[in-house]
Symmetry: C2
Subunit: 446 residues, 2 copies
């Protein structure tokens, strides 16, 4: 099981910069209320919890077919539809495209240069495309689907439909309609599961299967931590504890930036996945915590200076991996060279984990709160635990902050203005607003 | 030339959340003082400015040799030694390893799994290795150099030395000594140029050349913006203005998080390069600004909700690219499908740039300060401008904040504790400290 050591969040360890039992106990009514909101399913979107018992037969079947018949697997999706699959791919199959088939490409943005490059290196005839959009009409995904559909049609004619799988709402939306009209294979995103909580739905699981990862192992890991993350005792529930600690550090100590630092290259995209989950779920009503994606040891040479001597506005949390599944010994060469000789005989794992512990201690000595999540090893089972743990922690944090962790009202205006500019019907007023804005802007320019 | 539109930072555009001429004029003595510190070379490390007139013949020669003789170019370095080269590689040669030779790999961390994977896909016989460390004894780089040196020696014997180039101080340090002893080709990092200001030295320029990019173009771009970035009028100097605006937003409005959002995939690593520069240069004495790496449109589906409705602690700045060098038309298919039909006939560039402008306007309407840096196109010339502009802006910001933008005293303790754990001579006390820490930690654990 994953574990959390939060000693360095407590005043016993870091003095007045830390929290105490008392500060946690003082908000026990709030913690209890938050707990009940989640346990009693206050929001219907908590249905993501039920994903753990889904039947994966259809996903596995699609995965087998794609693995057998494609050299390239191209995913079109953005936000949760891209970040979850990418976190799985990078954590469990690093260097995938240089080692395995089908190669996996995730096109999430609408950068024409990226797509041009992509099209120059993949053979569309041997490509299978997964279009993912819960709503079915995400602008970026719609645009790239139109382009790829048109190209595939030109190349494969009627057979094009057989080279797509659409992951969307089981009933509603434009993608569902297109799938029905064109007889395209589909996989469902359950109606109440939001994009950023969808990694353990077909959204993430199909990429896992295509990549050669048993998606049931992700679910098994998540299932094994489920009851623990639903314990009503904050001291026994890591998800509730995680949320409570960061909530209190914001409220009492004005530390509102939460830096996630895994010490393993392939977890960099787990950080990015978490950052969407945490930012979009909690950032509303002028409240929220700012998640910061980082990576050790790399960012010791980039961000550490700021964490340790900059403004006291951050909490750092490490993800430490016990077993890398491999290790490399540092050989005894240049034995007389200062700065090299002491390394011989040690291993890279010793070095990376020593650096993690050294950074933890250095922060602690500087009175900078931090805590460490330890993961026995990175495989599908433990990655499943991490996904579910962070999702539950985010839901609890929303309840503690008294915001709805499942909506994102703030992004609508930007979408509407884009619709206006792109000439979508019904958004003519937005177009005018942009025209007006353009006319007046640019007075301050250099 | 790159340009900045900062209208949406001003109260004329965003009301009381904005700055005014008055607030800028009120600190004109500070601005003048900061300007003079930089113009008069208060810190010797401002020598990075002189890199623009360096002779690149040796770099070009090494680049030609490597291009001719290697299938793989492996860079060992961390922090500035990796972030600069990676920013160049990704911005100017996206998808490089799937399209061109030599493939370029940057191994910055000491993750054993990554190195194992890397060694399984590259043939060391056909690999050229660039070891970069200014000091010559960075622990991560030293460890990976020891491993690679040992392997190359076993494969190539005496010829191993001919497959390395070491980029380090021209006189001092352990790497210099090794290069002399083993007769390895070297390139210099000028003694007064710090790692994070070294991208326009051989640190970044060799990777440029190996990747097929004319390093002189990077320098030409930087040179063309140099005199503008040394103008003493804040309203005419984009670097001084950038620093002043973000300094004032922190000081007067408590907005201390600076989010960098390029709308082009391949500039993601320019963000990471900037974040090291800004964080490590300014984060000291409990002061500093927190840079946040982001990407449009991707992060509209991840972070935008937090920017627009979360705590009012951020300034967002966009990098908008006028010309992507290519574009893709969105075809007229699914013309009767709601959410798809409006896109037909537009292009991806129109969409991505409309989304940038829509996001800018949505933030502005929500009273969230933002500004836009426009770059005519992304090539070596303009990337050189951006590098130099951000370096100068960082130096000015340090002077305004009254911190030394060229040191990083906060990272020493972590290094010393690591030395202790790894058994380096002279750090026995640090080892004891860690042992003591381990004995006492872990009381709060779940």
């Amino acid at each position: 099981m994953i574990s959390i050591d939060y000693s360095n969040m407590m005043e016993e360890y870091i003095g007045s910069k830390g929290l105490s039992n008392l500060s946690i106990n003082n908000i026990s009514p709030q913690i209890e209320k938050a707990y009940k909101m989640i346990a009693n399913r206050e929001w219907k979107q908590l249905e993501f919890i039920d994903l753990l018992s889904q039947d994966t037969a259809e996903i596995k079947k699609a995965g087998r077919y794609i693995k057998k018949s494609a050299d390239n697997f191209l995913l079109l999706g953005i936000g949760g539809s891209a970040l979850g699959p990418r976190a799985i791919l990078e954590a469990l199959s690093p260097f995938h495209n240089l080692k395995k088939r089908p190669r996996v490409f995730i096109y999430d943005n609408v950068d024409p240069r990226t797509l041009k490059n992509l099209l120059s290196i993949i053979d569309l005839k041997k490509t299978f495309i997964n279009v993912i959009s819960k709503s079915g009409s995400t602008a970026e995904t719609a645009a790239s689907f139109l382009i790829l559909w048109d190209k595939m049609k030109r190349i494969l004619g009627k057979d094009a439909s057989k080279r797509f799988v659409i992951t969307t709402d089981p009933e509603k939306g434009s993608l569902r309609k297109i799938a029905n009209d064109e007889k395209i294979l589909t996989l469902p995103v359950p109606p109440n599961v939001g994009g950023r909580y969808s990694v353990l739905s077909p959204v993430g699981l199909l990429t896992a299967e295509v990549t050669g990862i048993d998606c049931n192992e992700l679910l098994r890991g998540a299932s094994d931590i489920k009851s623990i993350c639903l314990n009503n005792d904050v001291y026994k529930n890591p998800a509730l504890l995680f949320a409570t600690l960061l909530f209190l550090m914001d409220k009492e100590k004005n530390r509102h930036i939460n830096v996630m630092v895994p010490y393993m290259d392939s977890l960099k995209f787990l950080s990015e996945w978490f950052c969407q989950l945490w930012a979009e779920s909690l950032g509303k009503e002028n409240k929220g915590l700012t998640p910061y994606p980082s990576l050790g040891t790399t960012d010791q040479h980039s961000q550490l200076q700021l964490w340790i001597e900059g403004p006291p506005d951050k909490v750092i949390f490490f993800i430490r991996v016990d077993d890398f599944g491999t290790d490399i010994k540092i050989p005894a060469v240049f034995k007389n060279i200062e700065g090299y000789n002491y390394l011989s005989g040690h291993t890279l794992k010793e070095l990376i984990n020593s650096e993690q512990e050294a950074t933890e201690l250095a922060l602690t000595k500087a009175g900078r709160p931090n805590f460490t999540i330890t993961v026995p090893q990175i495989n599908a089972y433990y990655l499943g635990q991490l996904f579910f743990f962070f999702e539950m922690a985010t839901a609890f944090a929303g309840a503690l902050l008294e915001v709805n962790p499942f909506d994102q009202p703030g992004v609508e205006e930007g979408k509407n203005l884009t619709y206006g500019m792109m000439g979508k019907k019904g958004f003519e007023e937005k177009k005018k607003e942009v025209d007006e804005y353009r006319k007046n802007k640019g007075k301050w320019r250099i």
